[in-house]
């Protein structure tokens, strides 16, 4: 559906040259929910703008299906853009238009008759659960409602792709979940390909099928969310995955263990059994469980005792019962 070939973007400011995106190769399949994750300044927003050419890549090619977007004229590109909806962190709704007229806008410029546009806009507002608010102005809506209007607006031209640039970053956790569920539903019902830019692992865990990890403009890791979550290869991925809230100073490399649960084992008292079996006490530093792709996944960060023999016993035990674990520590060096 979307193919990026050696895409790079360089910004030249007065005193220096910034390479925001470097040599990115990416393949996003139809119907996928693809997450692009990275810390602030990693070049995520530039990368997503390279997909619909809001930022024209300095080098490389961008394809939508078989069409090479980077080779199109401005007019052709505008037509292709109607196949790609986009939503933003700060919603970017037209402040002087009502919710309904915001959703009408893409149809107006596509030359759809006013009556037809309103009918379609009403249907879309209903889809996002906002038919009540059609005559409200954006300033009268909450953040979550604004993003719903933005989603309806992005879907107005029946696009094949929806690009989400930090779409939930300005929202509270509950609203984030409801927006993500809405995106998931749209993905299921309409077969829409969704690209999600975020700095939050929980967003990726919640709805993405695949994920690409971006650092300093370069893709350092790509794969299915399960694989990356279970065994992150890059330091950035490890850092992004770790449950939040731990302080970094108390960690010594080999005494931290990240235990990853897959579907079945999270319901067994793994830790209790391990403590009983190994006659060792452990300190639970952090834990979370997530619903990924319908299965209960989770992770737990354990601080192990000093004794190397006990550590060996614990690892041995985890190996026998088939629990995936990783020796942590390194991700906390910042």
């Amino acid at each position: 559906m979307i193919t990026l070939e050696n895409v790079g973007k360089t910004f030249t400011t007065q005193d220096r040259v910034v390479e925001a995106v470097k040599n990115v190769n990416l393949q996003i399949e139809k119907g996928e929910i693809y997450g692009i994750i990275g810390f602030s300044g990693a070049g995520k927003s530039t990368l997503v703008r390279c997909i619909n050419l809001l930022e024209r890549p300095s080098v490389g090619k961008v394809f939508l299906g078989k069409t090479e977007l980077t080779a199109l004229t401005d007019a052709q590109l505008r037509r292709e853009r109607s196949k790609m909806g986009m939503i933003f962190q700060h919603f970017n709704l037209f402040s002087q238009r009502t919710a309904l007229r915001n959703v009408c806008y893409p149809l107006e410029i596509a030359g759809v008759s006013k009556k037809e546009a309103i009918q379609r806009a009403e249907k879309l507002l209903k889809l996002v659960g906002l038919e009540e608010c059609k005559n409200s102005y954006p300033s009268q809506l909450s953040g979550g409602q604004k993003q719903r209007v933005a989603i309806a607006r992005a879907l107005a031209t029946d696009p094949e792709v929806l690009l989400c640039d930090e779409a939930t970053s300005a929202l509270d956790p509950n609203t984030t979940i409801s927006i993500l569920d809405l995106l998931k539903r749209i993905n299921n019902e309409m077969g829409l390909t969704i690209v999600i830019i975020t700095h939050e692992m929980k967003v990726v865990e919640h709805i993405c099928d695949k994920v690409a990890v971006l650092e300093y403009g370069t893709l350092v890791e790509t794969g299915s969310v399960q694989d990356v979550f279970m065994a992150p290869k890059s330091q950035v991925a490890k850092k992004l995955i770790m449950p939040k809230g731990e302080t970094t100073s108390s960690f010594e490399n080999n005494k931290i263990l990240r235990i990853v649960f897959d579907g079945q084992s999270s319901f067994e008292p793994v830790i209790s059994n391990m403590i009983l079996e190994c006659h060792a006490t452990v300190n639970i530093l952090g834990a979370n469980t997530e619903n990924i792709g319908g299965k209960a996944f989770g992770q737990m960060l354990l601080q192990l005792p000093e004794d190397e023999i006990v550590i060996g016993r614990i690892k041995n035990y985890l190996d026998t019962i088939g629990i995936h674990y990783e020796e942590g520590g390194a991700p906390f060096d910042e």
Partner: protein, 227 residues
Amino acid sequence: MKKEVLRLTNEVVTLLRNGIFETLYMTLVSTAIAYFIGIPLGVLLYTTGEKGTGHNTLVNKTLGIIVNLIRSIPFIILLVAILPFTRLVVGTTIGSTATIVPLIVAAAPFVARMVESSLNEVDSGVIEAAVSIGSNPLQIIIKVLLPEAKPSLIVGSTIAITTILGYSTMAGFVGGGGLGAIAINYGYYRYKKDIMLITVVLLVIIVQIFQEVGTKLANKTDKRKKA
């Protein structure tokens, strides 16, 4: 003394009424035409500027210099300097209609700057969204930029209209009409201070009304505030 004032008032009512009409005529017509010229000019300044989609330093700077040049000429000088042009356009250099020509020349660049600054206030994210939807540059100007900037444009037009009103009073010095001419001819040249005072009060009232209406209208149009 009292008797004289009353006599004067009777005589002067028609004079003042005509003055008010002439002032409003000059102000409103030149504001309208100044906007007719100033909006495209302002849009051009914006689109060729830093934030604009058609960024073009040469056009922007050239236009900017012309605009600044005209704006820096004192109106009273401009008024006299373009008398031949005024004659060419309206066939005369005296009266209210003749004053409209220099008013437009002075106001259009001013309006252009106001429009440019209003457009600059529009959230660049909103424009980005419009681009991502597939809008062409013209659609962005007409369907996004101008409507989004509407409240600010109305505030700007209130400032423009009162400035133009102020300029119009100077026309009295070169045979223009309106309240300014009355103030100068009666108040200044004939030392009739009471007439001068009345015209000033009338001008204050007119400015006040324009300001009030403009502010109300701007607030009513502005959907960014919670209703």
